[in-house]
């Protein structure tokens, strides 16, 4: 049993922290976090990360990586997260799509995409959810039919975030018709689609916290056959085998630590009745509880990451990380709102807004965390069925 880092990991972490202290600003962090697009500053920042050798540590050497342990990439995610909840600037490609291409893509596909992902040049957006396929994703209807050299794709996706600035759509579509004899999930394939392909229309959906997500319409979009990922009709398996690793990289508890730090500073600096809020036992108790839960989330996350980088089977463990971290975000922000009292309602633009309006923004944002990437309810079904062997309910 060992909860420490190796010397090389420790050194990487120190070097990275020094770099982030100098180069990463709140403005850059927010561009990505609020899904408004990777602006010029964030692109520049990702090139700086590449130039300093911080990206691609755990990726294979033959595609431009350094072939080291995934621990290095987790350190990168954690240390970025500690600064205003920042992500890797080109996030979906680096943390979600790339690993599946490595696992299931052809050599040609790996050569085409992996080096550009590691070098921070391209971004992907996920194309899974449809208006009638949310929690029941396998019931998706978007159709990809054989058109000779290419697939011809028709249908609609929704809540596809980052589509308006990504180069590629990581698209799931049906390659065999619905049939009572074949389970729905056995007719789905994955594709890489150029976002500027003729026939794609993107319409914005604005969320309650001001982030942009999108509806995406496909009207006879031709996708070359070499952009099929792996085998036809295996797409749903690829999505599911990637889900543990995705959760390990997307639900990063350290991204919540800036909220805790903001609240610690706030209660030390803010007075009520001539005394600092930090002297109020109730407030101390609430903030301590946030710190307790954040530490617990960290060790849960470390555990499922550890399973992953040792090649041990993951089933329900990343789901625990997901459910716990997303619900922690809601509890944390709710506590922060209670502590800010009447000031909690003020938004960033307002006179008197405390903590740069971050808490009221996070509050609105936090409604999404237990829904996006799978609801807490579906998560708990998975935990009960895979983790404890309880029978399926249907």
């Amino acid at each position: 049993m060992d909860f420490g880092y190796t010397k090389a990991e420790e050194e990487y972490k120190e070097r990275l922290c020094r770099f982030l202290d100098e180069e990463l600003t709140e403005e850059i962090a927010r561009q990505n976090w609020e899904d408004l697009g990777v602006g010029p500053e964030a692109r520049e920042f990702s090139y700086r990360l590449v130039a300093e050798g911080f990206l691609g540590m755990s990726w294979p050497k033959e595609y431009g990586g350094k072939g080291l342990s995934p621990v290095f990439d987790y350190i990168l995610l954690d240390e970025l997260g500690k600064k205003w909840g920042a992500h890797v600037p080109l996030d979906v490609g680096y943390t979600m799509v790339g690993p599946t291409i490595l696992r299931r893509g052809s050599d040609e596909m790996k050569k085409e995409f992996i080096p550009r992902i590691i070098e921070g040049e391209i971004e992907f957006c996920l194309g899974y959810t449809e208006p009638n396929a949310g929690s029941d994703l396998a019931s998706m209807e978007m159709q990809a039919v054989d058109g000779g050299d290419s697939y011809i794709i028709n249908g609609q996706k929704t809540f596809n975030t980052e589509c308006h600035y990504s180069e590629y759509h990581w698209l799931a579509a049906r390659t065999s018709d619905f049939s009572p004899d074949v389970p729905q999930h056995k007719g789905i394939s994955l594709f890489i689609v150029d976002m500027d392909s003729p026939g794609i229309t993107i319409r914005p959906l604005w969320t309650m916290s001001g982030e942009r997500t999108n509806e995406v319409f496909y009207d006879n979009v031709a996708v070359p056959k070499n952009r099929l990922v792996g085998e036809e009709n295996k797409g749903f398996y690829y999505m599911m085998e990637a889900i543990g690793s995705e959760r390990n990289q997307v639900f990063v508890p350290q991204r919540l630590s800036p909220i805790l730090q903001d609240m610690i500073n706030y209660v030390k600096e803010t007075e009520y009745n001539g005394k600092a809020l930090s002297e109020d036992p109730l407030i101390r108790d609430k903030i301590a509880q946030i710190a307790v839960e954040l530490e617990v989330a960290g060790v849960l996350c470390d555990h499922s990451r550890w399973l992953e980088f040792n090649g041990l089977p993951m089933s329900y463990q990343p789901e625990i990380t997901k459910v716990f971290t997303s619900e922690l975000e809601q509890r944390m922000v709710d506590i922060a709102m209670q502590i800010l009292g009447p000031y909690s309602q003020l938004t960033e633009e307002s006179k008197w807004a405390p903590l740069r309006g971050r808490i009221s923004w996070y509050y609105l944002h936090s409604f999404m965390t237990t829904i996006g990437a799978g609801t807490s309810e579906v998560g708990r079904n998975v935990i009960a069925q895979r983790g404890l062997g309880l029978p399926r309910s249907n």
Partner: protein
Amino acid sequence: MDFNFTSEQERLRKSARDFLKTECPSSFVLEMEADKTGYSPELWRKMQELDWMALIIPEQYDGVGGEFLDLMIMLEEMGRACTPGPFFSTIVLGGLSIMDWGNESQKKRFLPGIANGEIKITLADSEPETTRYSPYPISTVVTVQDTGYTINGTKLFVQDAEVADYMLVSTRTFDSGSIRDGISLFIVDAKSPGISLTPLQTIGGDKQYEVVFDEVKVLEADILGGVYDGGRQLDSILQKATVCKCAEMVGGGQMVLEMATEYAKERKQFGKPIGAYQAIQHHCANMLIDVESSRFITYKTAWMVSQNLPCVKQVAITKAWVSDRYKNVAGLGHQVQGAAAYIIEHAMPLYSRRASASAVAFGDSNYCRQVVASELGI
């Protein structure tokens, strides 16, 4: 990073689990709750034959020389079985304290006896004025006389005092103005004249006592480590005891989870196992989240303790979390298992009662969160 125990440690866990499954079923635990001493000399002897008491005692004092994490495994298994008897008090509160803080002659005098199961020790710290938990408000006083020292005062919640041969007693030797200073720990012969015990009846069914010290004579040689440094010693002793208590709670929580899951798979209502209903699945999922999170945070903290890393905040975080979660798991365990588990002979109440006792041992979650807050600099 490595979440694995060594294969030797896994063998230790398996042998402890197998042994306790046979020797310590819940019916035996209930029997021991009704027993005056709460302890079976026969079980104690068998545990000694398996070297459990010797496990972490260094080899030069006739022990096995195991590490702190070995003890965590053992306590997790004992928590799983609600094992009655003075193991925790003797090994954790007594043995570790003497190993860490005793001087050479105290180690020679006590450790071999602990290792071979002949000496049982406990800690007497809390006092009546501790209406909210804190280790420091100590008014049990020591006065110096020509022939040695005299202790006067009342201690509460002293575990296993009736079977203990010695007690580690916190006393106030001088008033420095700071409650953490001026404390000294004495190793007191539990059969000394002037000591009287009154058993306390607790919902946990464990054996706790009021211990009154009336003109109890001790010698300078009985001061732990021979130094007037009780505050620092107590901090360290309680820190380890807290992590050990968390290990026990993790084992208990795991057992409740297994009982409830088993029941949910077998019990049928409306034509289906109740575990097929999402309401029950979500209760069980919540229990699993609680137990796994408690386990990993406890292991991490135990590892930090074993590495001698600073861990005041970490220990408080762990106890705050595990105390609350074990109680939650017990509540859900009752809810899933329904009326059957409300009956006294059922194993379930044993765990919910123990969860309540453990939650307040060595600092409840409210106390721990205040420690965390201070450590956060607020």
